[in-house]
Symmetry: C2
């Protein structure tokens, strides 16, 4: 899995089980078994999910005797938030602009608008 960071984060969170794990980890660190408990899957499956989350930078794992406590890393969320906010704002701005245009020229809507239609 050698994808770009953003793809890794998004695809890590595209799985509901992994999102649930993140939700659980937001409350506090947990061991693999603790994380596995609520889910009806093998420990190995959970281990795989954790690897995905770790590769995405969403969690980190340390060591405590036999246990491997999992810790949620909040910073990576920013990567997503920034990307999302960027395009959302642009889209919303466009929407408001269009709104203005429609208000200022209400007759230009039904018939074929002049020539070309590529630019904006």
């Amino acid at each position: 899995m050698v994808a770009d960071p953003l793809s890794r984060v998004f695809s890590a969170l595209a799985d509901p089980t992994r999102r649930d794990m993140v939700a659980r980890l937001a409350i506090g660190d947990a061991t693999v078994s603790e994380l596995a408990a609520p889910f009806d899957v093998s420990l190995q499956a959970v281990s795989k999910h954790l690897k995905v989350l770790e590769d995405a930078g969403l969690v980190s794992r340390s060591r405590d005797a036999q246990r491997r406590p999992v810790h949620l890393e909040a910073e990576v969320f920013d990567l997503m938030t920034k990307w999302i906010e960027r395009y959302r704002r642009r889209a919303e701005a466009r929407y408001r602009r269009l709104d203005d245009v429609l208000r200022s020229m209400p007759e230009e809507s039904a018939p074929p608008p002049p020539p070309e239609g590529t630019a904006s």
Copy 2:
């Protein structure tokens, strides 16, 4: 593809090509061919990508003669943003709390903390 909305949105954006398309659409609506131009894939592949984005509620498609202009829908972004913000805030709050704890009791860190380790 009958997954929950959040999974659909995250997994739609897990693909770099689709993110690029969203970026392009943030500038303004575009036809399928226009969207396809920058990418080195077939028109059919682009059509599939658009279907994924549409199923996720990220874009909508109308009709203009033979063309099917694609429009970015900003609202769905909120779904993600809300989810992300929720857990990020919790994780950050925990982090600050831990910080406080560590500051107030600097000796309790290295040796095995009392018994049990499940709760928090």
